[in-house]
Each structure stands twice: as C-alpha cells, then as structure tokens.
C-alpha cells in the first residue's frame, strides 16, 4: 500500500503536466484555425514555425 504514496502523486503530476501543456497550446492559438491547419500540413512549403 505504501506504493500508493508514490503512484498517486506521480499520476497527478503527469496529468498536471499534460494539462499545463494543453493550456499553453491554447494560449498560443494552436486551436484557432483547425480547418486551415488540416490543409496546411499538405502544403509543399510547410511552415514549421507558425505564428
């Protein structure tokens, strides 16, 4: 049962990391133009540094 003391914080921490990453992407506007992004990936001059 002692292992729970490690596993619960670990699982919470990993979840929090994912949440933080998602929050950051949302702020960065990664989800502003889903339709355009779906098409952009097919372009030859793929811009890997979108603003």
């Amino acid at each position: 049962m002692d292992v729970l003391g490690i596993l619960i914080p670990v699982s919470l921490g990993l979840g929090a990391v994912g949440l933080a990453a998602f929050w950051w992407l949302l702020k960065k506007g990664q989800f502003d133009d889903p339709e355009g992004d779906a098409h952009r990936i097919l372009r030859d001059d793929y811009d890997d540094k979108p603003k």
């Binding site: 699982s11 919470l12 952009r40």
Partner: protein, 729 residues
C-alpha cells in the same frame, strides 16, 4: 516576419546601436499595421498558398496568414500599404476579397468563449480521470482508513475542479433563477452542489459513499456537449456586426478645390464627396457633378447598371462604374439606407432567436420534474427514517442519476455529426438549430441573380459576328470597365478574335464607348445613344458601325450548377418554390419559365423581400430562403432558415444559417434529407434518455443507487446517445 536589430550585436558605430534603443524608450512608434481582409472564396490548401503568396510578393507586406476557419487573412504590412491594393491583388489572383474593419472585428477575432470552454473541459477531464482512478480502488473494496484517504484525495481534486469547470452552468442557472425561470442548468448546478456537499459531509464522517466522481463526470459530459454545441456555431457571428465591418470606412471630401481623405463618420449633410470609378459610394446623397453608371445590384439585385446624372439620388453601398462624380451628402453613417438594412437584419435575427429548439423544449419539461421528484424523495425518506443525512443522500442520488448528461449530449452530438457530414458534401452549417428548422421547411424562396444564376451576364450570338465586326466590338469593349463591356471583351478574347485599330476611343459615362474606325464613327452602348436601331426588351447593349443599323448584343444569365436539378427535386418533394428578385418583370418571368418556377415576385427591394418572407410565414409556411446579395440579407435573416452560396457577400453569408462552400447548389437537397434524419435521431436520443431515466430514477428513489451504479448509468446513457448520433446517414 519583421527583422529587429539585435541589441547585443557589436557595431563600429555606437550611435547605430543606440538608435533602436532610443526608439524603444520612446515607446516604439508602430512601424506596421495589421490589416484584416475577408476572403470568402477560399476553401483548400491551394487557396491558402495562393492568397499568402500573392500578398507576400507585394512590397511592404511583411506577413500574411490565412485563417481558413474564419475565411479571413491577417496581413502585417508597412503603414503606407493601402488595403485597396491588397484587395486588387487578390482579385487579380482569382480570390474575391473585402476589407474588414479590424476595430469592429476585434471583439470576434479570438474565440474567447470557445477557448474558455475547451480549457474547462481539459481541467474536467484531467480531474475526472484521476478521481475515477481513486474511485475504482474504493469500489473494488478499499476499507477504513485507506477508503477515507482516497475520499479526501478525491475531494482535494474534485472540489476545485468542480468550482472551476462548472462556472458556465452556475452563472446560467443564477441568471435563470434571477429572472424567475427554470432552465436545464438549474438542476445541473443543484446536482453538482448537492453531490459535492453530501460527499464532503460523508467523507468527514468517514461514510461509505462519496459522489465526487459523479459530480466531476457530470461536469465533463456536459462541458463536452456545450463545446460540441459551440463548435457547430463557431462561425455564426452576428450578421449585423459583419455588415458594420463592411461599410466603406473612408471617403474623399472636397474642400474647395482640394480633396482630403476623411473617415465616413466625419461626413456631415451638405459636404461634397468625390467618388471615382470603381469606388463604392459612402453616403446617401444627390449627384451634383458628372455622369456615370452605377452598379446597384448590391442594394436592389438589378443586374443592369443604372445611369446617374446631376440631380439623381445615390445610396451608400452602390458602386460607381464609369465616370467620376461628386455627391452632395444628405445622410451619412447610421442614417443611410445601408445602415437601415443592417438594423432590419438585427431585428429579424432577434425574431428568429425566438425559435425554441427541441433541447430547450425538453429542458422546460425536464427541469421542474427532476426537482419535484428529488424533493419528494428527500421528504419521503426524512418522514420514513427521521434521518436528514439519509434523506439528503437520496436527494443527491436522484439529482445525479437524472441529471441530463444524455440530454445535454442528445442534440449537440447529432448536429455535430450532421455538420461534419454535410461539410464534406459542400455545405457549412453555422447555426446549431438550423438543421432542426430545415427539417420542417415546406416553402423554398430563391433569389435570382447570383443564387440560381452565376451572377455574371454572358453575351449571346457573338460567334455570328464576322472578324471585322468582332474586332471593332472587342476594341471598343476593352475601352470600358463596364460589366457588360467586360463580358463582351472576355467572350470575344476567348473566341480568339483580335481587336482592330480603333482611334480616339472615348468613354461617355452613362452611355457607352465611341471611337473612329477607318474614319467612320463606331459606338457601343445604350440603344438611344447609339441610335439607328430598335431596342430589344432584354438586357442588351448595341453596336453601330458607321451609318449601318445598330446590332443588339443580348445577354443571358448562366444557370448555376445544380440549380435546375434542385428546383425539380424540391418540386418533386411537394415543396412550394418561389422566385423573388429585384430585377424587372420581363427578365424574372422569362428566367422562371426557363427553370420551371411558377411563383415569382419581381422588382422587390430589400425590405419588400423581407416582407414577402414574413407574409409566407404569416400563412403558416416554414420558409427556406436562398440568396446571396446585400439586398437579400434582411430576407435571409427573416426566413425560418437561410442558405447562401460561397460567392455571396460576407454579410449575406453571415446572415445565413448555412453556406454552400462550392459552386453547386446540389448539396441543398442532401442537406434537407440529412436534416430530416438528424431530427429523427435527436428525437430518438431524447427517447433513450427518457427510458434510461424511467429505469434509473426508481432505483435512486429506493436508495439502491450507489456511486458505482450512478457512474455506470450516467456514462452508459451518454455513450448510447453519442453512438446513436454516429448512426446518422
């Protein structure tokens, strides 16, 4: 991208290093402007590249980025770059473009509500997964101190999460209660609060059952529904606001002999405004100087350009085609006809919002019922056991298990599936309830120009001209920017005709083009001005060479792809089809006969179109309006449901519930079929949710509903509803 000087760069010239710094200290004067253009026609990867390349090739443009979801392009450019040049470049590259006023759009630029919902959903999912993990341990037999610890950790995760993620429901419920109503959010909020409250109380007394997982799962499922709902409406921005952004923002004011560029807002009645050919008239007023022809199609739908001379009235939104004119301002800004149409739309939109969707209707029945059952259960158990703790637990269980996860998902899941399906077929749904309304349509009203037709006049019979006549016609038509002349020039060039030498080509604004060919006068233009021939009844222009009788060149509107099939298909389904147009009687009736429509309304100005729709609605008809112009926007907003083609004006598309993304009209028939089956699926979903409630509520009232059963029942009903939505064909 803008390259800024790197401040760390060592330099031989110390002053050079200081200069940018000084600029920074001075508050860095803006060196570039952010411009916003509406590009309605773009739809694919090729368009994105095309638009961005065309703009980035321009000097002074630093960056251009297309947002395909909003059909807009944001341009970063030097301050002196003119928006009109950008639009012209895009038009040349084959993309229709309009300027948008960034100030007006600032409010809608970032989808703040969508972001907030997505953020809350992410937090809810994170919390739900972790709490569920702990709950599984409890369900599989954790006892005593371990169980209490699990419950406390669950509480520590769930309580802040529920407070944060449930905010949309709490605020909506609070508003409803303040207004003395009940909506779906009231039982939701009450269930969440009761569930968390009793769970916390139970945990403190180290009780066996805690509903933290149920409370946060509730938030998650409902937020998912809300977000799906929001996504399907993401493009539905207020038509009135788009219109405001489209209004001509600047005008050339005559100040003595010099002209100055001023904002339209600064114009006052009595001012003189200069309007150059190709420009849009910014105000309502009277022509004081110059003759020209006006393209009034934006306001009236009339395809023929109208002549304007001193003394004639002109209106904001009309395009000046051939000659420069001076206009004395009578009304500007909010007082123009254009602004009045905007107001018409706002009023009509408010009227349409009265439509009660199936979901709202269900909520009206549902919310009071749930409260009554749960209150009765609580009272019953309290009377039976005299134990408030048990009674509250039962009440919470009833609220949780009846809580409308499935109902919250029933509509958005179906509409999202249907929108995705129709989008692949070329129809974009902007309004969440549009499909429900489309399913009930029994009358379809079409606009003529630009909707059933392509909107571009096409000259007929040019191939019967000999090379010489054709050459003269081409030479003359190239001398004018008039739409009819442009159509002739396009057609003749396509036929391989070469222009002959015509000297002294002069355009007589409002009449036509004339020149000298081998010493003989040649003219192309209005019948009366050209002279020596008979005017025919249709849209036509006339060519006269020397003293020979004038020849008429007649024009026809080309049918849009799928138009004939659509009208035939609708009539086969027994729908009433009406044609309404601002064009003259002859043109409209002839066109109607050609496509097989019996009911026509002609010479209808914008308000008359909206009235025609209102009259049909008053007869008890459910009206679908299909239109594309500024003159249709009020009618589009007044109809029960409206569709506009992609080529339509941004304002018309904003006023419509659905937009055709391709050139063909055929997807409208698909949409009607899909709408009917979507409505059936929504009703099925309500049945599923009701049946599930009928089974689960007695369990909860009887006190047999443990958190495990509640979680299972809730998830399975939500999943069933979502899966049923995917069956949509």
């Amino acid at each position: 991208m803008t390259a800024f000087a790197d401040p760390a760069r060592p330099s031989a010239c110390p002053a050079c290093d200081v200069a940018p710094l000084a600029e920074q200290i001075a508050g860095s004067a803006p060196t570039e402007a952010r411009l916003m253009l509406a590009v309605p026609g773009i739809h694919c990867a090729g368009c994105i590249s095309g638009v961005e390349r065309a703009l980035q090739a321009l000097p002074g443009v630093h960056d251009a980025r297309v947002n395909l979801t909003l059909r807009r392009v944001a341009v970063e450019a030097d301050l002196d770059v003119d928006v009109d040049t950008l639009c012209a470049v895009l038009t040349e590259a084959g993309y229709e473009a309009h300027e948008l006023d960034p100030g007006v759009l600032a409010a809608t630029e970032v989808d703040a509500r969508g972001r907030a919902l997505l953020m809350r959903l992410a937090v809810a999912v994170f919390a739900m997964m972790n709490v569920m993990l702990l709950s599984v341990a409890v369900w599989s037999g954790a006892e005593g101190v371990t169980r209490d610890m699990m419950h406390w950790i669950s509480a520590a995760i769930a309580i802040p999460a529920v407070i944060f993620t449930g905010q949309p429901f709490y605020s909506s419920a609070l508003q409803a209660l303040k207004a003395g109503r009940l909506n779906m959010d009231v039982p939701i909020s009450l269930a969440i609060i009761l569930a968390v409250g009793t769970s916390l109380y139970e945990t403190m007394l180290s009780g066996e059952h805690a509903y933290f997982d149920a409370a946060i799962a509730l938030c998650t499922f409902l937020l998912a529904g809300r977000y799906l709902d929001h996504r399907t409406r993401a493009n539905a921005r207020s038509a009135a606001q788009e219109l405001a952004a489209l209004e001509v923002p600047r005008a050339l004011r005559l100040n003595g002999q010099v002209t100055e560029t001023v904002g339209v807002a600064d114009l006052a009645p009595g001012d003189l405004v200069r309007v150059l050919p190709g420009g849009r008239i910014p105000v309502d007023g009277v022509v004081t100087e110059g003759t020209t022809e006006l393209d009034r199609s934006l306001m009236t739908g009339e395809t023929l350009p109208a002549a304007a001379a001193p003394g004639d009235a002109v209106h904001a939104g009309e395009s000046n085609l051939t000659g420069p004119i001076t206009v004395e301002v009578q009304a500007a800004g909010r007082d123009t006809d254009l602004a009045r149409i905007t107001d018409l739309i706002a009023v009509a939109e408010a009227g349409r919002n009265n439509y009660t969707s199936l979901a709202d209707a269900a909520a009206k029945l549902y919310a009071p019922g749930v409260h009554i059952i749960s209150a009765l259960a609580a009272i019953g158990w309290f009377v039976a056991t005299w134990d408030l703790r048990v009674a509250l637990n039962i009440a919470a269980a009833v609220l949780i298990i009846t809580c409308p996860c499935a109902l919250g998902l029933a509509v958005p899941a179906v509409t999202t599936a249907a929108s995705a399906r129709l989008f692949r077929k070329g129809l974009l749904i902007k309004n969440g309830t549009a499909l429900e309304r489309l399913a009930q349509v029994d009358t379809v009203v079409f606009d003529k120009t630009g909707t059933l037709t392509d909107g571009a006049p096409e000259p007929m019979g040019l191939d019967q001209f000999d090379a010489q006549t054709g050459g003269i016609a081409l030479a003359l038509s190239q001398g004018s920017a008039h739409p009819l002349a442009a159509a002739i020039a396009r057609e003749l060039t396509a036929q391989g005709v070469r222009p002959v030498q015509v000297d002294d080509i002069r355009e007589q604004p409002g009449f036509g083009v004339e020149g000298l060919w081998e010493g003989k006068p040649v003219r192309l233009g209005r019948a009366a001005w050209v002279g020596g021939g008979e005017a025919v009844g249709t849209t036509a222009t006339y060519l006269r060479i020397g003293e020979a009788p004038a020849q008429a060149i007649t024009f026809t509107d080309t049918l849009r792809e799928g138009a004939a099939e659509l009208v035939a298909g609708l009539q086969a389904q027994g729908k009433r089809v009406v044609l309404v147009s601002g064009d003259v009687e002859a043109a409209v009736t002839r066109f109607a006969a050609r496509i097989g429509i019996e009911e026509v309304i002609f010479e209808a100005h914008p308000a008359a179109k909206a009235e025609a729709i209102a009259a049909l609605s008053a007869e008890g008809r459910r009206v679908l309006m299909v239109g594309d112009g500024m003159n249709d926007t009020a009618a589009l907003a007044a109809a029960d449901v409206s569709i506009s083609p992609a080529s339509a004006l941004e304002a018309a598309r904003a006023a419509s519930d659905m937009v055709l993304t391709g050139g063909s009209l055929a997807p409208i028939l698909d949409a009607m079929a899909t709408a009917v089956s979507a409505r059936r699926r929504i009703k099925e979903n309500f049945t599923i949710a009701s049946v599930y409630n009928l089974l689960a509520v007695p369990l909860a009232v009887a006190g047999l509903c443990s958190p495990l059963i509640a979680a299972l029942a809730m998830s399975s009903s939500s999943l069933t509803v979502s899966l049923n939505a995917l069956r949509l064909r």
